[in-house]
Subunit: 598 residues, 2 copies
C-alpha cells in the first residue's frame, strides 16, 4: 500500500474516533507567516504533495487536494496513486471545498479542522460557507497519528542592538499601547512572530529565510508579555527585556494565560491573525473580544514605517549586496566565455549566496533563490533544483531573483541578463519592463495615495504591448525580517493602506512569455517626503538597490528622455557608491557596465 | 423681521404641532439626481442660502447650515441676519449634524426629516448616528407652510427613436429582468429618472440640463410599469409603450401600488436610490426587501455600456459640437483683437450656446457653463454671472468648460486658451495637464481594470510639479442623458466598478493656482476592446471629442515623442473630420490651429 494511503487510513480512524465526517487540512501554522516548521507540514505528510500552497480534505471515503495553477503539474505527479483527487483552483468547473463537501456528505455532517492553525476569521467564513454542515475546531489531529513527526525547533533568540533597531523596546511599547483602541482594560494579543520580533528587538532562526522565533505576545495598558520556549532567551537578554518592563512567559502557557482575563477585560487582536483555538480560550474567562480590523494590525502598521536607523541599515545592506552582485555578474560573464558547459542555474544560486556570505553581517538568504534560464524564467515562481541541473549558455535571458538577510536590513533584487542574441520582441519587452520600473521609481504623489493608484505606472508599459504579469508590482519588505511584509502593497487590487514615508517596498514589473522567456527587473524603493507646499504634502521614492541594470537589451528610443536620464543617474550613483568597496578590476568592470546610454 | 426668520418660525410652529424637536432639511428630491425642481428647494426657501449643496437643521431655538468650502463666502453673506449658524464642513472643530443635535437637545428628542427625499440607506445611517435621539420620517413639512410654493412641472415626455437609442424597450426589459437577483416574485423598483428614461427610450424636460421627466418604474418577471403624471405621454406614445408590454400608471400612485405587494413578493431596489417613505410603503403589504447593492443598480450598470448606435450618436454629437467650438474660438480670437473691452465671461458662455443651437439636433446645455478668466479659473466650480460681468483681455488663460445635449449624445469639453504672454510656470503647468490627458487617452489596460488604477496616468504629471487637482479625473457621461453618470469613474478613490467597452467617461486633469490661474483640458473617451490574445483581453480608449487643443502654451520638450505624436495625430483627425463641415475660412483657420508641433 502507498504511504499516502496508509496515512489517509490513520486519519480516517481518527475521524471515526472523534465523530467527524471529514477533515480539512490547510497549509500553515499557529503564527500565520509565510514559512512554517516541518512539524506543521501535515498536508504534505498525508498527501505527498510538496508544493507550498494547498489544502487537503479527507472524508471517510474520499480525499481531494486544492491547489493553484503553479502546482497543477507537480501535484498531478505527486498525487498519482494516492487516490487523492486534484482540484484545480480558479479553473472553471472546480468546486470550492464547501461545495465539494456538501456534494460528498449531503446536508448532515461534522467537519474537523485543527483550531490552532486556522484563524478566527477563516474559521467563521468557512463555517458560514459550509452550512448546513458543521465545522468543528479540533486539537492537533496529527499528534496521535504522525509517528516520527519532526520535533518543533526552538532555537536561541538573539537581541537586535539598539544601533541597528533605532528604537528601544520601551518606546515601541508606548506607541503600541497608545494605538490600542480605547476600552476599559485592553489586552492586545499578537500571534505573528515578525511583529513580536520587531516589538522586542529580537531575532531568531526557527524557520527558513525569516529570522523569527516561535512566540506570542500580549500588551496591556501597564504590562507586556512575551511567550517563548523555556531557555531560548539567555539570562542577560532576559534582564534587558525585564528592564523594559517585559515579562517572559512560557510559550505553552499563552492559552491558559488568556483564559485568566475576566469580564473586566477586552481581548483585542486582528481576527485573521489569531487562531480560533486561542480566540476560544481568550473569551472563555469572560473577556469580550474586539477585532483589530486595521490592515496588518497595530504592530504591523507601526513596523511598516522604518525609522531612520532602519533606513540607513537598508542602505548599508544594499551596498553589501551590490558588492556580491558585482562579483556574481562578473563570474557569470567569465564562466559563459569559458563555454565549458558546466554553468547551471543551481550553481549560480549557490554562487551568489557564497559571495554574500563574504560579508560578516550576512545572515542567510531572504527567500528561496530564483535563477531561471530561458523558458524557465516564464514561470514566476521557478526555483532551480540541484537534482536536475539546467545548463546555461550564451542564449536568451537569464533571470536572477535573490535576496539576503543582513543584520541591518533585508534585500530582494531581480536582474535579467541578456546572454546572447535577442529578437526585437525580446528587446522591446525588456525595455518596457525597465520603463515601468523607472516610471514607478520616479513617481511623485500626494499624501493619501494607495499603492493601487501607482501600480499602473509600472504595469502600463508592458500592457501597451498586449502583455501582462499576473502578480503585484510591489510588496513591503521587513527590516532584517520577512522579505514579504505588509500591510502596504503596490498592485492592481484595492488595498486601503496608504503609502507613507518610511515604507520599504519592492518595484518589480515583469513579462512572461510561456515556453520562451521571462523578464523581471526589481529594485527596492523607500517612500520619502518630497515636498510640503500650499497644495499639501507630496511623497516620492528613493531607490535603495544598487545593482547595475543590463543595458545591452535596451531599445533606447522606447524610453523617454527623462527615463534615460533616470537610468544614467542611477548607474552613476551605483558606481560612485559601490566602486570604493571593490577591487580595481571589479571597479573597472562596474564602470563599463554603468556607462551612460543615449 | 427678515424673511428667513419668519419662515423659521413657521417651521418651528410645524415642529410643535408634530411633536418634533428639530428638523433636518437636506438638498434634493425624491429621485436622487443632480438637479431638482424649484418645488423641492425648501432648504433655500427657509435659509436664503442658494448654493447647490447644503443641509439646514432647525431646532425649536436654533438653526445651522452645513455646506462645503466652495460655498463658505457665499453662505456667510446669504445667511447674514438669518440667525442661522454656518457650519463649515471638513473644517476642524465643525461638529457633524448628529453631534450638534446631541449638544443642542441632549439625550432626548425627536428629529423630523422628509421621508420622501431621504434614501433608505441615508435614513438608516443618520438614525444610527443620532442615537439616542430618534429620527422620524415625516411627510413633506413644507406642504402646509410654504405659501406660493412653485408648482411641480410635468412637461411632455417624448420618445427617443430606435435609430437613436439602438435597442428596443422590449430588449432592455429582457436584460433588466435577467439581471434581477433570483427570488420568488421579484419587483424591481426604480426611482432614478435617468435610468427610467434609458429603459423606456423616453426623454423629458422637467429639470435643467438633464433631459428627464419625473417618474418611477417597477419591473416584475412578467410585467413592467412606468409611473408618470397624467397627460405627459400622448396617446400614440402610450400605445407604443404598451406594445412593449409597459403599463402606464399615475405618478402619484407609486406608493399605493407598492403596498399591494404581499409576502409572496420581494421588493428589490438600490437602498441609496429609494426614499425611506417609498421603502416603508413597499414593505407595508408584507413583501420582503432585497437590497440591490451593485454600484449604480441594475439599470445603472446596463445604461453605462453604450451600444454601437449610442456610440455613433456620441461621435455625431462631437462633430456638431466641434463645429460650434471652432466658431466659438474664432469669435474669441477676433473679439480679443478688437480690444473693445466688451468681451465678458458671460457673453462667451451665451455665445457658445448660441453657436451650438445652430444645429437642429441641439437640445440645450448639459450643465451650467464655466467660462473663467484668469484667477476665476482657479475655482473649479466657478460660473460666470450676468450680474457682475468679468471682462476678458489678452492676458493669462481663459478656461471654458461647457457641454451640450444633442438628440444623439451628450458632450462635455474643456479647453484652456492662452490669451497673452505666459510665465514659464504657466506654460509648464499647461503642458503637464495636457501630458496627463494624453497619457490616459493612450492607455492600454487589461480587462478587470478599475478607473482608480488609471487615474494616476492623468494626475501624475501635475503631481510631478508638486501641484494637485482635488477632483476626480473622469466621470461617466450619459447618452443624451445626464452629463454626470455612474457607476464608473476615474479617480484616486476606490470604486469597484470595472471599466468596460462601451463606457463613456470624461478625461479632465487640471491644475489650479489660487488667486492666479486655472488650467483644465477635457476630452470624452470611449472604452473599447483593443486586443484579445494569450494573455487575455485588453481595452483602450477612443477619444470622442474633436476640439483643437491650444498649442501655443505647450513646452514641447516636456512631452515625450509618443505624446507629441498622439497630439499631432489627434489634430489630424480633428481637421479631417470637422473641416468638411466648415466654411472655407473656418477650415483654413482650423488647419492652422491643428498644425503639427515638434
Amino acid at each position: 500500500m502507498k504511504t499516502s494511503t496508509v496515512r489517509q487510513k490513520a486519519l480516517r480512524d481518527y475521524l471515526k474516533k472523534s465523530s467527524a465526517d471529514a477533515i480539512i487540512i490547510p497549509s500553515g501554522d499557529n503564527h500565520f507567516g509565510e514559512y512554517y516548521q516541518e512539524y506543521f507540514a501535515c498536508r504534505k505528510w498525508v498527501s505527498g504533495f510538496t508544493g507550498s500552497a494547498g489544502t487537503l480534505v479527507v472524508t471517510k471515503k474520499n480525499a481531494a487536494l486544492w491547489t493553484d495553477s503553479r502546482y497543477f503539474v507537480q501535484a498531478e505527479n505527486e498525487l498519482a496513486e494516492s487516490g487523492i483527487v486534484l482540484m484545480k483552483m480558479r479553473v472553471e468547473g472546480t468546486p470550492s471545498i464547501p461545495e465539494w463537501l456538501k456534494a460528498e456528505l449531503g446536508t448532515d455532517g461534522i467537519i474537523a479542522i485543527d483550531g490552532q492553525i486556522v484563524s478566527k476569521s477563516e474559521f467563521e467564513s468557512l463555517s458560514k460557507a459550509l452550512i448546513p454542515l458543521v465545522l468543528k475546531s479540533v486539537q492537533d489531529p496529527f499528534g496521535e497519528i504522525w509517528e516520527e513527526r519532526p520535533q518543533l525547533r526552538f532555537n536561541r533568540v538573539f537581541s537586535l542592538d539598539i544601533h541597528l533597531a533605532g528604537e528601544t523596546v520601551t518606546s515601541k511599547l508606548v506607541r503600541v499601547k497608545s494605538a490600542i483602541p480605547t476600552c476599559e482594560k485592553p489586552a492586545y494579543v499578537i500571534s505573528t512572530c515578525d511583529d513580536i520580533a520587531w516589538l522586542y528587538n529580537l531575532r531568531g532562526s526557527d524557520i527558513p529565510f525569516n529570522p523569527l522565533f516561535a512566540s506570542y505576545a500580549v500588551v496591556t495598558k501597564d504590562k507586556s508579555y512575551i511567550f517563548v520556549n523555556e531557555g531560548v532567551i539567555e539570562d542577560a537578554l532576559q534582564k534587558e527585556l525585564m528592564n523594559h518592563g517585559v515579562e517572559i512567559m512560557n510559550y505553552n502557557q499563552i492559552g491558559k494565560f488568556l483564559t485568566s482575563f475576566d469580564q473586566n477585560f477586552s481581548i483585542i487582536a486582528p481576527p485573521d491573525k489569531i487562531s480560533v483555538s486561542l480566540y476560544n480560550q481568550a473569551i472563555s474567562g469572560g473577556a469580550r473580544f474586539i477585532a483589530d480590523e486595521s490592515k496588518g494590525g497595530i504592530t504591523g502598521a507601526l513596523k511598516a514605517i522604518k525609522n531612520s536607523t532602519e533606513q540607513n541599515g537598508f542602505r548599508e545592506a544594499m551596498k553589501r549586496d551590490a558588492v556580491a552582485w558585482v562579483k556574481f555578474i562578473m563570474f557569470l560573464e567569465s564562466e559563459l566565455e569559458k563555454a565549458s558547459g558546466n554553468l547551471t542555474e543551481h550553481l549560480l544560486a549557490e554562487k551568489i549566496a557564497h559571495l554574500r556570505a563574504e560579508s560578516p553581517d550576512y545572515r542567510g538568504e531572504s527567500f528561496h533563490p530564483i535563477v531561471a534560464f530561458g523558458a524557465n524564467a516564464a514561470l514566476p515562481h521557478y526555483s532551480p533544483s540541484g537534482d536536475k541541473p539546467v545548463s546555461i549558455c550564451k542564449e536568451c535571458f537569464l533571470l536572477v531573483d535573490t535576496g539576503a538577510q543582513y543584520i541591518y536590513g533585508t534585500t530582494d533584487t531581480t536582474r535579467t541578463f541578456a546572454l546572447g542574441e535577442l529578437t526585437d520582441e525580446q528587446k522591446r519587452d525588456y525595455t518596457l519592463v525597465l520603463k515601468g520600473m523607472i516610471n514607478l521609481s520616479r513617481a511623485i504623489f500626494p499624501k493619501g495615495t494607495r499603492g493601487s493608484s501607482l501600480d499602473f505606472l509600472a504595469r502600463g508599459p508592458v500592457c501597451s504591448a498586449g502583455k501582462l504579469y499576473s502578480h503585484g508590482t510591489g510588496h513591503g519588505i521587513g527590516h532584517y525580517l520577512c522579505v514579504h511584509e505588509g500591510p502596504q502593497s503596490i498592485r492592481m487590487e484595492e488595498n486601503p493602506v496608504e503609502l507613507k514615508p518610511g515604507m520599504v517596498t519592492s518595484n518589480e514589473p515583469a513579462v512572461y512569455v510561456a515556453g520562451s522567456y521571462g523578464i523581471r527587473t526589481e529594485n527596492v524603493i523607500l517612500c520619502k517626503e518630497h515636498e510640503v507646499n500650499q497644495y499639501g504634502t507630496f511623497y516620492n521614492f528613493e531607490t535603495l538597490t544598487l545593482v547595475p541594470v543590463d543595458t545591452r537589451a535596451i531599445v533606447v528610443p522606447l524610453l523617454g528622455n527623462e527615463e534615460v536620464e533616470w537610468l544614467n543617474n542611477y548607474h552613476r550613483v551605483v558606481y560612485n557608491t559601490i566602486s570604493p568597496l571593490l577591487k580595481k578590476d571589479e571597479a573597472e568592470w562596474l564602470k563599463s557596465r554603468t556607462a551612460c546610454i543615449s
